[in-house]
């Protein structure tokens, strides 16, 4: 495999990656199917933005957002069956059950823990300690400006946290299990070690005072854009959308078995942040995962940061029984970032 030069990097030398939008297959089928799978993503985004913008206060609540989120995911699961991107990513009963387990952890025990040690608590602590007022001027901005800023600021933080995970070994150990997924499906975003899910959820949004409606609008970007990172649906994504937003194509490159390809497309929603920092690769990949696509069990996912962390510490500081230093980190275990 020769790979393709993108900037200073060779993409796809280790595992196949399709580089360039012009090389990505289009939706196959009649005009109705073409129309639906071209405009579905923008239509849902604009419909949700309009809904949250105009919904009466009695409806514009977090519980409504959760309901819409669940409904949208069910619809997207149906779309995975109707128009899959790759047959090799098709959802099986076992995959669905595993994914749901991680989603369940996020909605229950992790949420409970986050209520005590999450970013909200930390920010409250900082504000109380220094008697800072929230940035109240933020609420005077137009709703959509507030929403876009909240979303971009959060995603900017997420971009650097994610990039940090791919470049600093201790953080990588928490993120690596997520990279063992071998296919993209709608709930795959939840698959990973809980420490990583906690870290990636940290944000500085709590420092700002914003209107609840603006927060709901900002959440819409997460729901109607970021959700498509992990989805097995073939879309004819519009040019402007894929320039601004992260897509399943971008994220499949990020999850590729190819080392260089996986060091790209770090943002969650706004791929334009990757464009700004030179880490965007437009394309798609089918072969995903680590170690040639080895499947990681739930048990290993939960213990990986600790067991691998211990191994790394032993390799760095440990001595064998004869007093000799242990060999350095094994190259194969370093992240296919």
């Amino acid at each position: 495999m020769n790979g393709v030069r993108v900037g200073n990097r060779i993409i796809g030398a280790q595992s196949p990656v399709t580089v360039g939008w012009e090389n990505i297959p289009r939706v196959e089928g009649g005009p109705v199917k073409q129309f639906v799978f071209t405009w579905f993503q923008p239509a849902v985004l604009f419909a949700l933005v309009a809904f949250w913008y105009y919904a009466p206060n009695s409806i514009a609540k977090a519980s409504t957002a959760i309901g819409i989120g669940i409904g949208l995911k069910v619809l997207l699961l149906a779309l995975e069956w109707v128009n899959p991107r790759f047959k090799s990513w098709q959802l099986t009963w076992k995959e669905a059950a595993i994914d749901l387990f991680y989603v369940g952890l996020g909605f229950t025990i992790l949420r409970l823990i986050e209520g005590y040690i999450g970013d909200g608590v930390m920010i409250e602590g900082i504000q109380n300690a220094f008697d800072w007022e929230k940035l109240a001027w933020f609420t005077t901005l137009p709703l959509l400006v507030q929403a876009v800023l909240i979303s971009v600021i959060f995603d900017f933080g997420q971009y650097w946290m994610h990039r940090g995970m791919h470049n600093w070994h201790p953080l990588w150990l928490t993120h690596a299990p997520h990279h063992y997924i071998t296919q993209l499906n709608i709930n795959k975003g939840a698959v990973g070690n809980p420490i990583e899910l906690f870290l990636i959820g940290l944000g500085i949004g709590g420092f700002f005072d914003f209107l609840p409606r603006a927060a709901l609008l900002a959440g819409t970007f997460g729901m109607a854009v970021s959700t498509y990172q992990h989805i097995n649906v073939r879309f004819n994504t519009p040019r402007w959308w894929r320039f601004l937003f992260n897509t399943t194509e971008h994220h499949s490159v990020h999850h590729s078995q190819d080392y260089e390809a996986s060091r790209s497309n770090y943002s969650g929603t706004w791929i334009i942040i990757d464009r700004m920092f030179g880490t965007c690769v437009d394309g798609e990949a089918e072969l995903l995962g680590m170690e040639g696509g080895r499947k990681m069990s739930i048990r290993e996912t939960m213990t990986f940061p600790f067991t691998e962390g211990w191994k790394s510490l032993k390799e760095k500081f440990g001595r064998d029984r004869y007093g000799q230093a242990m060999p350095g980190p094994i190259a194969a275990e370093w992240p296919a970032e």
Partner: protein, 209 residues
């Protein structure tokens, strides 16, 4: 205690009739590609084939099974393939509702322990609520104006503590998922074996890609 009374939870048993004239060797040869998947080891001895799987690929058609035995019995009417397959995924899914019920219990317990602290926090003098106003652009476009926060609701939320409802929902989801999986995977594996044994196309003998 008879293991069969409970091992149906994680074990799938069944049998498939061999096509007329099909020999034992031919039948196992046809099934063999199913055991060429990564992480699968198999052993054929006489009438039986045993297998073990580890870190099964997601698209392995037998990914939900971790081990099993298949054997062929010859009767007067012809051969019959019998199988007994065990699945940790099914057991895990069967037990998952208990785990989520435990999370619900934990959530309630934490809420009770944390209640005095929440009440103390609620007694702190609250800052004066500011009535927010929309930006003129939003007023022009007709977005509903924000309401003044209701103090009573705030106190109520804090007193209630974390909710166990989502844990109950996931317990129910896994109970349903288990029933679906137990029935579905039973049918799928029977269909897979039958198809393999009857399919005459050449690719049935090739390794599953």
């Amino acid at each position: 205690m008879n293991g069969r009374l409970i091992d149906w939870i994680w074990t799938i048993r069944g049998s498939v009739e061999l096509p007329p004239e099909q020999s034992r060797e031919d039948a196992f040869d046809r099934l063999d590609p199913l055991f060429h998947e990564s992480g699968t080891s198999r052993d054929r001895t006489g009438d039986a084939l045993t297998f073990d799987k580890k870190d099964q690929a997601a698209q392995d058609k037998m990914s939900i099974f971790d081990s099993g035995v298949l054997w062929i019995e010859q009767g007067t009417a012809g051969g019959m393939l019998h199988y007994r397959l065990t699945s940790r995924a099914l057991l895990f899914c069967f037990l998952a509702p208990l785990l989520f019920l435990a999370f619900a219990g934990l959530t309630i317990a934490v809420g009770k322990i944390d209640k005095p602290a929440a009440e103390t926090a609620a007694k702190k003098p609250e800052k004066k609520d500011v009535i927010r106003e929309l930006n003129p652009v939003d007023k022009f476009l007709g977005a509903p104006a924000p309401e003044k926060p209701k103090k009573d609701d705030k106190t109520k939320d804090k007193d209630e503590g974390p909710s166990p409802i989502s844990a109950y929902v996931f317990a129910a989801l896994f109970a349903v998922l288990y029933v679906v999986g137990r029935i579905l995977e039973d049918r799928l594996i029977r269909r897979l074996f039958r198809k393999r044994l009857r399919d005459d196309s050449s690719d049935s003998r090739q390794a599953v890609a």
